[in-house]
Assembly symmetry: C2
Homo-oligomer: 443 residues x 2
Amino acid sequence: MEFLSGVKEKETMELGELLTGEKTGQEVCVNGFIHSIRDMGDVAFLVLRKREGLLQCVLEEGTAGLSVKGLKEEQTVCVTGILEEDARAPHGIEVRIRGIRILSSPSEPLPLPAGKWKLSTSLEAKLNYRSASLRNIRERAKFRIQEGITRGFRDFLYSQGFTEIHTPKIGAKGAEGGSNMFRLEYFHHPAVLAQSPQFYKQMMVGVFDRVFETAPVFRAEKHNTKRHLNEYTSLDFEMGYIDSFEDIMAMETGFLQYTMKLLEKDYAEDLRILNVQLPRTDQIPCVRFAKAKELAAEKYGRKIRNPFDLEPEEEVLIGQYFKEEYDADFVFVTHYPSKKRPFYAMDDPEDTRYTLSFDLLFHGLEVTTGGQRIHDYQMLSEKIAARGMTEEGMEQYLGAFKYGMPPHGGLGIGLERLTMKLVGEDNVREAALFPRDLSRLEP
Amino acid sequence: MEFLSGVKEKETMELGELLTGEKTGQEVCVNGFIHSIRDMGDVAFLVLRKREGLLQCVLEEGTAGLSVKGLKEEQTVCVTGILEEDARAPHGIEVRIRGIRILSSPSEPLPLPAGKWKLSTSLEAKLNYRSASLRNIRERAKFRIQEGITRGFRDFLYSQGFTEIHTPKIGAKGAEGGSNMFRLEYFHHPAVLAQSPQFYKQMMVGVFDRVFETAPVFRAEKHNTKRHLNEYTSLDFEMGYIDSFEDIMAMETGFLQYTMKLLEKDYAEDLRILNVQLPRTDQIPCVRFAKAKELAAEKYGRKIRNPFDLEPEEEVLIGQYFKEEYDADFVFVTHYPSKKRPFYAMDDPEDTRYTLSFDLLFHGLEVTTGGQRIHDYQMLSEKIAARGMTEEGMEQYLGAFKYGMPPHGGLGIGLERLTMKLVGEDNVREAALFPRDLSRLEP
């Protein structure tokens, strides 16, 4: 009988191993895509694309019967050669090729010049040829950073006593009702796709105190803007026993601080490739909704058209105001009008026209919505009635409140928006591997 | 201007902090649900349910004006009192109450006796009253262990150079085609829910070499069994530059070994609560499909009805065989018939009726399907034609192969099945917070 006993070490090496210096002057074995070929006649430079970055390999025509003929970009190869230091090469090392074995060959050239440093093609082309465009080093680096954000979110919350949950995406009724839901048939029953894990995560506060989920959400919104996707990854948490909704903002601040450190430590190469300056998270200003509107209106001479609404342009100005006045990259805007928040939002007892809620703006773009929720069944039931809503279809959600719930609140972060702002893009589609919008259902 | 500068330490303490011994004899402050009340007249025992476990609090009638009257189960409270050691209490500690503040009160009693050690109600009742049944300590422990599995999967793969990806769940065409897909309308276009991230993760091997995703998948299968869900969490990975499909099984073995250690270390209390004996993962036997059928048939006298199919009952017998003969909890069954695998599976060059693929059985239940994939465009195209399939709708997927792909393979693990077997349940619904099956769309 054969047995498997775990991962065996491979002969082939990754960039990190080559960079330790231990193998300099020795023969090494590496695999990768041929990212680019520069043929100088007697000598050819093959740049290999490996998962940790680029590696220069030097092929001397004729050595050990080698020839650059027959090699082409996007082949995958296994190269043997001597590792040498060379200050002109990426990372200061190169491999002088002694042998090369072709693992696979493309049948067509790339439709985009992915081997170049900057992929100067249209967004449309990048999205149409996703499996090609992402082979560009700068394009893929954005998604490594996206990984770092998700990882930071989870690891920080684990450390704070949160439990990860998985809640269903197909359901009988959505969390916030309304028309923005995708509908489907579920074995002859009408069903919808979840636009948020809101109801479930609240119910689970009664079980685990603190929960989080990182999962897709679906919004059938007919927005065609640079900041909307119809499917996106939502980083959600919900926490019990809060003293005030400030606890939620403090937790998010902690997550951001933790994540920036993680990116600096483990994603330094990707930050360098994209020339990202990490935002300030040591202290994040906190301003009331009404005050934020006033400040932006005063400084930039913009009239307040609707005191109960915040337009995207106003968000941009608020972001600008806090950058200029406080050198702040993030700002919490608090106490949103009750009318603009869902029924489960906790009204401010000092002025019930407003709620104990907040948005987090990052360079003037909303990347988070959160707040304290109503935890008392009676109060929740009254608010539902006051809004002319029905409790029908929400029995399971309301059940949790009947059985008792601690004071609690939480938030949802749009992963793609946060990534987009962090890497300095201005269209959220740039921060989704395979974006879904009004007109895009493929790839 | 107010600023937020991160998470502040709370006065209230969690179980882990109380158990360090540093606070013994001192006043502490704790919050939680009143899980159960035992009123002895002069003295009452309140057991608090906290996220890390149960905590006994002792209330002496009349002390500082205290009374058990007015207290009830599932209230959330904040208790102040003196922390004392008491061998009879859970974890050997208790809090002698000096003051108690009610944070919230239920308006209805729980519909299930969640405060009992074993929740001896029907599965149906447990699922109908999910926000109540999960308040039972044993019920919720299953989902802490589920967290540990997901966490182990991600952390192990990070350490092995994998990149986490997020791929869309709404698409124009499914990975494996066919009738088992939920259909929906996407802004007047026909769309389906992803039954697997298969196509996307393969495409991303060309970008990141090694990728993984932990996300929901959707299967419109009309199975009503103890092991099927119509929505479940799939732990998927895909890796490039494999030497053979053994590399994939070795990686899974490594994940299992890492995860069992993680569970032992960080989830010991949950394992104890459920009395879980962790399975052996030091070496996992590996047997060919045809051989496995033979072995089970011989030992248990079961006729082989179809040499190209493995029935659930046969899987059970194979599991039993390897437990009895090798004390193995897991077994890799390899070389599944080509007919039973999707078109992208790599056929065994030595016998093309079989594939370089495998299932992992855990105590006789399939918890993983994986294998090597075809990476050559020509070969893939020929297999599609040979199966009478069309390339229509797969242009984006096939594009990746035209542009070149390394030899690769991967797998998908059913999180709920793995959890169910690990905690010793026999119905997969027991291992889903909110299961979706043929008849269940709520809660």
